[in-house]
């Protein structure tokens, strides 16, 4: 475990934005990372060096398999903006989201369709991830949870929010924990009306899941909800024309006691609330989400009494039928929210300085379709990918598949490089994560004692 290969400190203790002298998290020294990372995750020092893209294989394109693609984003590098490694896994698994262990030594990449989880070593050589383990008995091990949606770093373990269940492949699902060495720990089913486990708002509980994120200093775990296997493996056009299928989307978010993993309150948030982004400021007790079907921004916040509440705070795109907002990215200073809209391929940017009253300030056409957005900690670089789900992506010429990088100067997005994942015979570009050889402490906020 004693290895001398790093250029910078790799210290996993804790980080206090308030003591940095800058806005929340913009500490001196220029530490960087994705703004949506787990606070328990070792952060990147300096600028990200690699963007890992968990990519869905496409039949007849290249080897047709899902793969982890590594792109060099080091400024001045001769291979800047180029693919420097691609590691294929077995078959097509509906590659979706991924996440690091807290020590950032492993990257866990999940497949939604057959519930396989692929674990890569990204420590030995961050430019060339290596597949080291595959979890292929997920449903059996977890007591019937399926559709692992990603992996969220917790101390010594990962939290895997799921989308479905093996019994009826509907939306009832669970949170699953594994240790960093890949051993199953426990399954926590989302609350339902019949099994609310003491949570307030039990009458709304639908048992659906999607994202799961923690605000450590409030001991708060927040989850959101999407849809089950039956829907996310169905052709998009067929599903949207099926009234019965459209009934099976999540309408809730749940606040949990993080330490005890007990659900405390169920919020009614109609229209499939997806990504959760907690604010970073040490007095900012709120999180944003966007509802995919409702085309609205929602705020989950602590009110004047410290009680958690949820309310919709802004429409996203005044377009009839909605714009299908998907991924969102909150700047490290909690002032700017980037909202990707799959429906029209635009990124809409909101001023969220007043979180109760977001205002759209900018929009940019990213492509024919756009799904994920990852933002550097300094807010200067944003990366976009195109794929939502294999059967939900657009068809024909609208099915662009890319990784596109932009610079953000506070006013507009300016392109820096563009990788065509179809021309490169890679596949459908989905989740992005930042890699580096230079790591530092995590971002849990404990003042020096």
């Amino acid at each position: 475990m004693f290895v001398d290969q790093r250029a910078e400190a790799y210290e996993f203790n804790c980080f206090n934005p308030a003591s940095s002298g800058g806005p929340a998290g913009n500490e001196a020294g220029g530490a960087a990372d994705e703004t949506c990372s787990s606070p328990y995750l070792a952060r990147i020092e300096g600028q990200e060096e690699f963007v890992y893209v968990w990519t869905l294989g496409v039949e007849g394109l290249g080897d047709g398999a899902d793969k982890l693609v590594s792109v060099d984003v080091k400024p001045g590098s001769p291979t800047y903006g180029k693919v420097v490694s691609s590691v294929s896994v077995e078959g097509r698994n509906e590659a979706h989201h991924a996440g690091f262990t807290d020590d950032r030594r492993q990257l866990w990449c999940a497949g939604l369709e057959n519930s396989r989880v692929f674990i890569f070593d990204v420590h030995t050589d961050p430019s060339k991830p290596k597949l080291t383990k595959t979890i292929d008995n997920f449903a059996e091990t977890t007591g019937g949870a399926v559709g692992p949606h990603g992996a969220y770093a917790l101390p010594g373990r990962v939290l895997i929010p799921c989308l479905s269940n093996a019994k009826d492949k509907g939306g009832r699902t669970a949170l699953v924990e594994y240790s960093n060495d890949g051993n199953y720990i426990m399954t926590h089913w989302l609350p339902t009306k019949d099994d609310a486990r003491g949570a307030a708002g039990a009458q709304f509980a639908d048992g659906y899941g999607y994202d799961a994120r923690v605000l450590p200093r409030k001991n708060a775990l927040l989850t959101s909800s999407f849809t089950g296997w039956n829907n996310y493996t169905m052709d998009f056009g067929k599903m949207t024309s099926d009234p019965e299928a459209m009934k099976h989307f999540g309408q809730t978010m749940v606040m949990w006691d993080f330490h005890t993993r007990q659900p405390k309150k169920v919020f009614q948030v109609p229209g499939a609330p997806l990504e959760i982004r907690w604010a970073w400021g040490d007095q900012h007790n709120y999180a944003f989400t966007a509802t995919a079907l409702g085309s609205k921004l929602w705020l989950v916040y602590a009110d004047d009494h410290g009680d958690w509440q949820a309310k919709d705070v802004a429409p996203i795109g005044e377009v009839k039928g909605g714009v299908l907002p998907v991924d969102i990215s909150l700047s490290a200073d909690d002032k700017t929210l980037f909202v990707d809209c799959f429906g029209d391929g635009k990124c809409r940017v909101f001023d969220v300085s007043d979180p109760q009253h977001p205002k759209q300030i900018y929009e940019k056409q990213i492509g024919k379709q756009v799904n994920m957005v990852s933002q550097s900690w300094d807010g200067k670089r944003l990366y976009f990918t195109s794929s939502l789900l294999a059967r939900w992506d657009k068809k024909g010429a609208d099915n662009e598949q890319f990784l596109r990088a932009y610079g953000w100067d506070g006013k507009e997005l300016k392109p820096t490089f563009d990788l065509d994942f179809t021309a490169l015979k890679l596949g459908r570009a989905h989740h992005m994560l930042f890699g580096s050889t230079k790591l530092g402490p995590n971002r849990t906020t404990i003042a020096s004692r």
Partner: protein, 221 residues
């Protein structure tokens, strides 16, 4: 038995209120011991170490028989929010145990150095005298390794990442590492893993008392 349960529960409530106050870093009320469960993460790894008397000790003997909080540290760590913080929390728990008979009898603290070249048994002995304020209280053992080679499998067993810094004179100390403290039950099973952001002494105490209550329920059955 009911009286023991009452004592554990009431002392937990008192400890939260009086000794470890809620603050802006841990801005929540801790859970009531026994109101939740702690799943088994995995078995605690074994290995051979050296105690402060330079005697060989099996790590297994330090992870069985009591509810153990095991912390990986190195004494040259100068990052205030890393090893000094972890040892500070263990010190708080040790002080508290001096006033709590059940904890004094049933809890053990273990600080393992991953810097055997510097943290010799003699050095750890002096270090332990400095950080252990209460003369009574629960058992608190300080151990180091004979060599890095003997330490490696232990670090691997606990997934404790440690690397050398490129600059050995770094003001933060010569090593960088994951901050890890493990909660281990009397049977040697890891039941929780703390890092920065979760190493709240109120949560740790609630967890220890939850394990004590779990034992009481099992013995009652």
């Amino acid at each position: 038995m009911l009286r023991i349960l009452f004592l554990i529960l009431s002392s937990a409530c008192l400890s939260s209120a009086a000794d470890f106050a809620r603050d802006s870093d841990y801005d929540y009320d801790p859970p009531l011991p026994g109101s939740y469960t702690l799943p088994v993460v995995k078995l605690a790894a074994d290995g051979t170490l050296l105690d402060t008397d330079n005697k060989a000790v099996n790590l297994r003997d330090l992870t069985h028989g009591r509810i153990t909080l095991l912390s990986f540290i190195y004494t040259r760590c100068a990052a205030p929010k890393a090893c000094p913080y972890a040892t500070g929390v263990l010190g708080q728990l040790h002080d508290f145990s001096a006033k709590d008979v059940a904890l004094a009898k049933n809890m053990r603290l273990v600080s393992i150095s991953f810097d055997p070249e510097y943290d010799t048994p003699q050095h750890l002995a002096a270090y332990s005298e400095n950080v252990r304020e209460a003369k009574s209280g629960c058992e608190w053992r300080f151990v180091t390794a004979k060599s890095r080679a003997s330490l490696e499998p232990i670090l691997a067993g606990y997934n404790q990442a440690v690397d050398k810094r490129p600059n050995p004179s770094d003001p933060q100390g010569p090593l960088y590492h994951v901050l890890r403290v493990f909660l281990i039950d009397r049977a040697g099973r890891i039941r929780n893993i703390y890092s920065s952001g979760t190493l709240d002494p109120r949560l740790v105490l609630a967890d220890v008392k939850t394990l004590l209550l779990e034992e009481s329920k099992i013995s009652k059955q």
